[in-house]
């Protein structure tokens, strides 16, 4: 339920007998608003994310929209009786759009501009509020002897403390995973297990084969490792890895603090990197007996090509980030078959 603007039906509002000139003006206004709405809808269709490359382009567009909203509000204010609540709602929708425009561009804008723009938006809202207060028919003011209904006092709602039997340190250790290993081949077959998350932490020069479908994978502090994993239904979170190869399939993949790593991914959304360098990407290439069913059940059977749509949170420009690249085809592992048997 996004903010849909319901345009007032002119016939339903024509109960008051307005003088024709005012009525005409009002019609023109409604038409203008609806044109604008159309334009907005169309621009949404043609370009799903109207974000601008430069601050200047954004500011120009922003101030243009601000101008037109201000003039709408002024017009309404000058002839209050000829506009309805519906007209106000339309202006309010325009303000919401302006806010969305800011939202979409906020990331690349300097924080001063974001603050300034937010301020402008809240000022627009305020002046619209002022107009709408004027428009609301005044009630006759009178004192009443009746005491207003007493509201129960607001009480802070605090959950009653519960006793946790197991202590924190214990909880930390008993989740499935491989931790603190050096130079080993680590194999886990998750088939037939009701698996939650799987953790790989503090591994050096290990090969990890994870067959089956983990719910989520956490990877932390790996050096010179190879990680081959079946599809994860949820997300994969990677932090602090160096000199590794990862073959992973998941709905979401976040990569933090990675250096000199290759990622062979199948992913439903954009993989992201943050604070990473010299990382390369290629499509998923893992095979084991039954992987097709696992991929299907995790809804990862289709190659959407998202593996190369990498978002670098440290490089938010249109030009290619220097921190990652597509792994050249002649350097890729073409196909990789793993089994639970040690090699």
């Amino acid at each position: 339920m996004e903010d849909q603007n319901n345009f007032p039906n002119p016939t339903s509002n024509s109960d008051q007998s307005l003088d024709p000139a005012v009525e005409k003006k009002r019609q023109a206004m409604i038409e203008r608003l609806s044109n604008r709405h159309q334009a907005r809808v169309q621009s949404k269709d043609s370009d799903s994310s109207p974000s601008f490359e430069s601050t200047e382009t954004f500011l120009a567009r922003f101030s243009e929209l601000k101008q037109s909203i201000t003039s709408e509000i002024d017009q309404i204010e000058q002839a209050l009786e000829s506009f309805t609540k519906g007209d106000l709602d339309n202006v309010s929708a325009l303000i919401n759009d302006l806010e969305k425009l800011l939202a979409e561009n906020s990331y690349h804008l300097p924080s001063y501009e974001v603050r300034a723009s937010l301020k402008i938006i809240s000022e627009l809202r305020e002046s619209l509020d002022n107009v709408s207060v004027k428009m609301v028919p005044k009630k006759k003011f009178s004192f009443r002897s009746k005491v207003a209904k007493q509201k129960q006092p607001v009480v802070a709602i605090v959950e009653e403390p519960k006793v946790v039997s197991s202590d924190k340190a214990c909880i930390m250790l008993d989740t499935p995973g491989f931790r603190n290993r050096e130079g080993e081949v680590l194999v886990e077959n998750l088939k037939g297990k009701n698996m939650g998350e799987f953790t790989l932490s503090n591994l050096g020069s290990c090969e990890v084969r994870l067959i089956g479908r983990p719910r989520a994978i956490f990877i932390h502090r790996l050096r010179n490792c190879k990680v081959y994993a079946g599809p994860a239904l949820g997300s994969v979170l990677i932090d602090d890895v160096e000199g590794c190869v990862f073959v992973l399939a998941s709905h979401q993949i976040r990569i933090h603090n990675a250096r000199r790593c290759d990622f062979y991914l199948r992913v439903r959304s954009h993989p992201i990197i943050e604070d990473s360098s010299e990382v390369r990407f290629a499509p998923y290439c893992l095979h084991y007996d039954g992987i097709e069913e696992d991929l299907t059940e995790s809804r990862l059977d289709e190659e959407t090509g998202s593996w190369e749509n990498v978002d670098d949170f440290k490089w938010l420009r249109a030009v290619q980030s220097p921190n990652w690249s597509v792994l050249p085809e002649n350097e890729r592992i073409s196909s990789l078959r793993v089994s639970t048997a040690d090699s």
């Binding site: 607001v154 709602i157 946790v164 909880i171 008993d174 956490f218």
Partner: protein, 185 residues
């Protein structure tokens, strides 16, 4: 909130609430917003910047600001504090390693004066994952009992994946905000 703005809100027929949703990356914020709005949650990219969602909930209009949780973006959270009626803090209950980070970020956030009047809902998300901490355990680890006594808060276990618990959380938050802002109804 000044008296004038309270009066304005009362005058408005449509009752709006502004809700800020934050938490570490990978906690499931965008998934929660889309799920509660009945949208497809199967393809969600990590949030670059933020999303605004306007939804009707009971007799209120909620403007939900879902701000990305990646480290690089956390510095920008402060840009969205103004006029926040409700704060939703989302926790990945299965990410045990980062619970300390989570606790520190939350307590830092709550020091912010502009958020001092906001009702606080904590979603202990991903309860459907085997091995996730329960809301009671999260309460303990995040040290929620030590929150300022004037703060209205509640923790609710949920799963954005199945939808469990989301309504319970939003019901509480909306009621709590309404009881503060729209007392004169």
């Amino acid at each position: 909130m000044g008296l004038l703005s309270i009066i304005r809100k009362i005058k408005r027929k449509e009752k709006e609430m502004r809700i800020l949703m934050v938490g570490l990356d990978n906690s499931g914020k965008t998934t929660i917003v889309l799920k509660i709005n009945g949208e497809d949650t199967s393809v969600i990219s990590p949030t670059l910047g933020f999303n605004i969602k306007t939804i009707s909930y009971q007799k209120y209009t909620l403007n939900i600001w879902d701000v990305g949780g990646q480290k690089t973006i956390r510095a920008y959270w402060r840009n969205y504090f103004e006029q926040t009626d409700g704060l939703i803090w989302v926790v990945d209950s299965s990410d045990l390693r980062r619970l300390d980070d989570c606790k520190n970020e939350l307590h830092n956030l709550l020091k912010e004066e502009r958020l001092s009047g906001a009702s606080l809902l904590i979603f202990a998300n991903k309860q459907d994952i085997e091995g996730a901490l329960s809301p009671a355990e999260i309460t303990k680890v995040l040290n929620l009992e030590a929150l300022d006594k004037t703060r209205h808060w509640k923790i609710v276990g949920c799963s954005a994946y199945t939808g469990d618990g989301l309504l319970e959380g939003f019901d509480w938050l909306v009621q709590d905000i309404a009881s503060r802002i729209y007392v004169l109804d």
